[in-house]
Amino acid sequence: MGEAFLLNFVLYLPLVGIVLLMAAPPGQEGFVRRITLWVMALQFALTVILYVQFDATVPGLQFETRLPWIPAWGVYYQIGLDGYNVLLVLLTAFLGPLVVAGAFTAITKDVKLFYAMVFLIQFAMMGTFVAQDLFLFYLFWETMLIPMFLLIGIWGGERRIYATIKFVLYTAFGSILMLAAVIYLVWSLQQTTGITSFAFADLYKAELPLNAQIVLLSAFGLSFAIKVPMVPLHTWLPDAHVEAPTAGSVILAGVLLKMGTYGFMKLGFPLFPDATHWFAPAIMVLAVISIVYGACLALVQNDIKKIIAYSSISHLGYVMLGLISLDLIGIQGAVIQMVSHGLTAAGLFLMVGMIYERCHTRELAAYGGLAKLLPVYSVFFMILTLASIGLPTTSGFTGEFLVLLGAFTASWQQYRQGAVLPLATAVIAVSGVVLGALYMLRFAQTFLFGVEKAPHQPLVDLDRREKAILIAIVAAVFLLGLFPDGPMKKTELAAKQYQQLVSTPRLPGSPR
């Protein structure tokens, strides 16, 4: 009970934070910022305890709470940690204080409301990850939308209205589909087994006919694919990133995008394994298209936020490729890649925010030779760029290497049995590393090297707060690059369960 309480406490801590903010007297912005930072830091510290205590050798849920909520519909309030979400919860909690600290000087308008929204979205993201009941999951999933909408809409850039509407329409469209699918899924579970339940564990047992699975996976999949985002459902992302304030971009890139891939891993694929098998070639192709297309587009952008946004599309393509490869190494790589992208993209967006505060432009051509003007900044920037490229010893390498290794070996196996398409996708994905180097180095080279140029000189290099933020991220990047074994132990059982759920036919006699 004590342990389960800890997880609940971590989950609801941001709401406590909101209450504290409301109690704060008006005009006390410094106080508001400090309170927020402390609450977030406390949340992170407690999450670390959860992470350390999480027993990698025990399958299934830990720190579980299960209380009846709407018993007539089989809805339970059920949350818990498992191998699927443990790293993502840790990532969310880790980025929380950094987001808050990163916004200290950037946000001066409606500070209280801003931090309240950050708390709210933190709560919703945590909830989405730890929810183990579809009803609860959907509730948290939808809750995420509102604070994000406000973050972009109130504190965003010039075209923020366009960007928010696009973001909300895209995601709401996906959500509606998912809602319909949720209802249909629970209804058909009841029809086939007589159990009325929203619990993931029960839903995994549903034996649906293939065409029902296909319809359901399409609905769930569209909703998740929009969040990932996979080409061609990605155009909301660059706009949202460009217009969002730094904190919004960091949350979006760091955690929110992982909702899509997490959804696929926890729900989409394991719930409908036969349909997944049916869709697998299409998903592989789309994943590879995302990798190449995102990289190509990143190559020709002139807005530094857009470059990172498109690179996110490319990086999450690797995650999808790893998940669909159904190879244990590939799956583990995908999980690491999720966390790694969360770290590097968040770090890069924070760094863009820092330079934007100094120079007030995101135009790539306006910069040059920052290595001379801002040497400390440049070191961090270079490290994050290289991590994003996937250079060995950084987290990006761990993720990309394992994903590609898994995807390739799985596809080679299939190739030996006569299937060419998976092999083709894997080979193209491997070539994607060249494109990655191309666009990130173009970015870094224009940005850091060459003739010194920047608006609003003289520039002041990073202060202690900014250094602390970046050191934290860079340390995590190297930790995951050099010693990925510990984190991967925690996710291994879940990865195995996922692999087993998706690769065993749910319907007797389905092809494999």
């Binding site: 696009k166 061609p232 990605h234 155009t235 297309y293 190509c296 587009l297 190559l299 020709v300 244990l328 190494i329 583990q332 030779g369 290595a371 001379k372 290289l386 250079l391 060995p392 010893t393 390498f397 761990t398 290497f401 394992l402 590609l404 290794l405 390739f408 070996t409 080679w412 196996q413 080979v427 491997v430 070539s431 590393v433 060249v434 180097a437 191309l438 180095l441 173009r442 080279q445 850091l448 090297f449 060459g450 003739v451 010194e452 050099l482 010693f483 990925p484 074994d485 991967m488 132990k489 291994e492 195995k496």
Partner: protein
């Protein structure tokens, strides 16, 4: 189990960390002590490891830790030390250390002194992981890492966009090779479930029918090697890489990093021994690269560019040796090449240093008396690369030529002929370089003329050491030393009577090349000028490196940007996807606009609709009632 190997690798990393974090604060003495001291320590540690190796005879394995364990598979960070690794590690730490010492003189006045040494140490760290890594994974970490160090050092003077661009070109070109490398590595993983190179070699040696075609893997790994070792078609980055400081060119782009591809092929010789097709590809590409790079080198006028193309050409020689199965010979040439090419580059650095940055050999001449130490060492190294006996280059090159001719694993007279022609050109262009730089009348700018000075002891001392090694290095019988590990290919008995004539031929060729250069470039190169004019078209093609850069730009660079911008961004994203969405939005807007017309505001009309509704409902109910 001792962690000696880990220590060897980590020492330079410590240097990187110390210099990078504290170097600027603690001053030059500290930077020198750390920057040079730790590589020298690593060198002695390598010697100790070598002594241990010779003592026990068994390869030393040092498992640092398990990087990742997934399911029943595991990726370990482990180091492996046999005679091949010993040779390479000694070259890397030995030549590396002296180049560090040289740099203390060469970079003395640079503002980013600490940063330079930090990068050099970082390079050594990755290079040592490359040569000592037991598994392909560790090798790959080093492989990518040296690429990074090379990128940072090429762009060391990043204020000039040209340098930064050269760095990027090197990195991206290498990445193309890396993609092939990765694929080869994945195939091996699929087949054997391990990336440990000793195990893979063993599996190929023992396995009756290996699970995956050796030739396919061999070619894929060789793609990686072409990137790192600047072989056709990925050779374009190396000449541009000369934008970096000269010690970097010597260490990374001549002596060590670019030979990583050679090391890889030699290390995986278990595969190539079973892959005749892949070996043939390696031999042909090597010979072709050697030949074409030499033709280009003849026309270049930048002292470092000549040396760069010469490096490409010499690397081609090494691959030729690998392709015909003479792995030990290739490593032998790696070693001698490291000696004389490092000496040449550092000598060039000394020249550039003396001439306050001038690199154009048309503006040199007559320097022999002015900077005598540099001259003598440079001349020794030139003779060595030209293949004048008994200097180092002669021995290794002669063995390559012999194996190219006689090896039972793909040797042929054609390969020998190409290699011999290349050797002739090598002797020629190197002597041309020597003549134009040191002999004849001075063509220096008067400005520069005043400041010509011999380099400090830290630089000349290193030159002398390297020149001495270039002179006697050929007597270190590396192929024999490695024989147990990398057996030399058999040579048919029938060809043995060719051996002596071939040695004589190669000596003649070397002397001929030197004589030709002396002939053409005597008296200020008037004769050479006439030849150049009569062959203006050829000269233009060679001078512009066969226009390969331009070709790549047209074929790959521009189309990629064009497709990304015009097709993907404008048509894909903006027109199709956003266009479709905007279209949907507009459709909804229009439809709503149409419907809103019937909303006239007249209550009577609404009631009329009610009437219609009632009538309609009644009609429907009668029909179905």
């Amino acid at each position: 189990m001792s962690h000696l190997l880990t220590l060897i690798v980590v020492l330079p990393l410590a240097g990187f960390a110390l210099n990078g974090l504290l170097g600027n604060r603690l001053g030059k003495g500290f930077v020198n002590a750390v920057g040079c001291g730790l590589p020298i320590l690593a060198f002695f540690a390598t010697l100790k490891a070598w002594a241990e190796l010779e003592g026990t005879g068994a390869p030393i394995v040092d498992i640092a830790y398990a990087w990742a364990r997934i399911g029943d598979r595991s990726f370990e960070v482990a180091f492996y030390f046999d005679r091949l690794a010993a040779v390479m590690a000694l070259i890397v730490t030995g030549v590396g250390s002296v180049i560090h010492i040289y740099s203390t003189g060469y970079m003395k006045d640079d503002a980013s002194y600490a940063r330079f040494f930090a990068y050099l140490n970082l390079f050594l760290f990755f290079m040592l992981s490359l040569v000592l890594g037991r598994s392909l994974l560790v090798l790959f970490v080093g492989w990518e890492g040296v690429g990074l160090a090379s990128y940072l050092l090429i762009g060391f003077w990043f204020e000039d966009p040209v340098n930064a661009r050269a760095g990027k070109k090197a990195f991206v070109t290498n990445r193309i090779g890396d993609a092939g490398f990765l694929l080869g590595m994945f195939l091996l993983w699929w087949a054997f479930g391990t990336l440990d190179m000793d195990r893979i070699n063993l599996a190929y040696a023992n396995g009756a029918s290996p699970a995956v075609s050796a030739s396919l893997v061999g070619i894929l790994l060789f793609v990686g090697a072409t990137g790192k070792s600047a072989q056709i078609p990925l050779h374009v980055w190396l000449p541009d890489a000369m934008a970096g400081p000269t010690p970097v060119s010597a260490l990374i782009h001549a002596a060590t990093m670019v030979t990583a591809g050679v090391y890889l092929v030699a290390r995986m010789s278990g595969i190539y021994a079973h892959a005749p097709e892949a070996s043939m590809v390696v031999a042909v590409i090597g010979a072709a690269t050697a030949f074409f790079a030499a033709t280009i080198a003849i026309t270049q006028t930048d002292i470092k560019k000549v040396l760069a193309y010469s490096t490409v050409s010499q690397l081609g020689f090494m691959f030729l040796a690998l392709g015909v199965g003479a792995y030990g010979v290739a490593i032998f040439h790696v070693m001698t090449h490291a000696f004389f090419k490092a000496c040449l580059f550092l000598g060039a650095g000394s020249v550039i240093h003396a001439l306050s940055g001038e690199q154009d050999i048309r503006k040199m001449g007559g320097l022999a008396r002015r900077i005598p130490v540099t001259f003598v060492t440079f001349a020794v190294a030139t003779a060595a690369i030209a293949g004048i006996p008994p200097l180092a280059g002669f021995w290794s090159k002669d063995e390559i030529l012999w194996n190219a001719f006689a090896s039972s694993r793909g040797g042929s007279p054609v390969l020998w002929a190409v290699a011999a022609a290349t050797a002739l050109m090598t002797a020629f262009y190197m002597s041309r370089l020597l003549w134009l730089t040191f002999f004849g009348k001075s063509r220096l700018d008067p400005e520069v003329e005043h400041h010509v000075h011999e380099s400090p002891l830290s630089m000349t001392g290193v030159l002398v050491v390297l020149a001495a090694l270039s002179a006697v290095g050929g007597f270190i019988a590396v192929p024999h030393f490695l024989e147990a590990l990398l057996p030399l290919p058999a040579t048919p008995e029938a060809l043995h009577h060719y051996e002596t004539p071939l040695v004589v031929t190669s000596v003649v060729i070397a002397l001929l090349g030197v004589a030709a250069a002396a002939f053409f470039f005597a008296e200020g190169g008037a004769r050479a000028g006439r030849v150049r004019e009569s062959l203006a078209g050829v000269h233009r093609v060679l001078y512009n490196k066969y226009f390969i850069d331009e070709l790549y730009e047209r074929l790959l660079g521009r189309p990629l940007t064009w497709v990304s911008d015009r097709v993907f961004l404008r048509i894909g994203d903006r027109m199709l996807i956003d266009g479709a969405l905007d279209g949907l939005a507009r459709l909804a807007h229009r439809a709503a606009g149409g419907l809103s017309r019937i909303q006239t505001g007249h209550l009577n009309l609404y009631m009329f609709f009610v009437l219609l509704g009632i009538v309609g409902t009644l009609a429907w109910s009668f029909r179905h009632g």
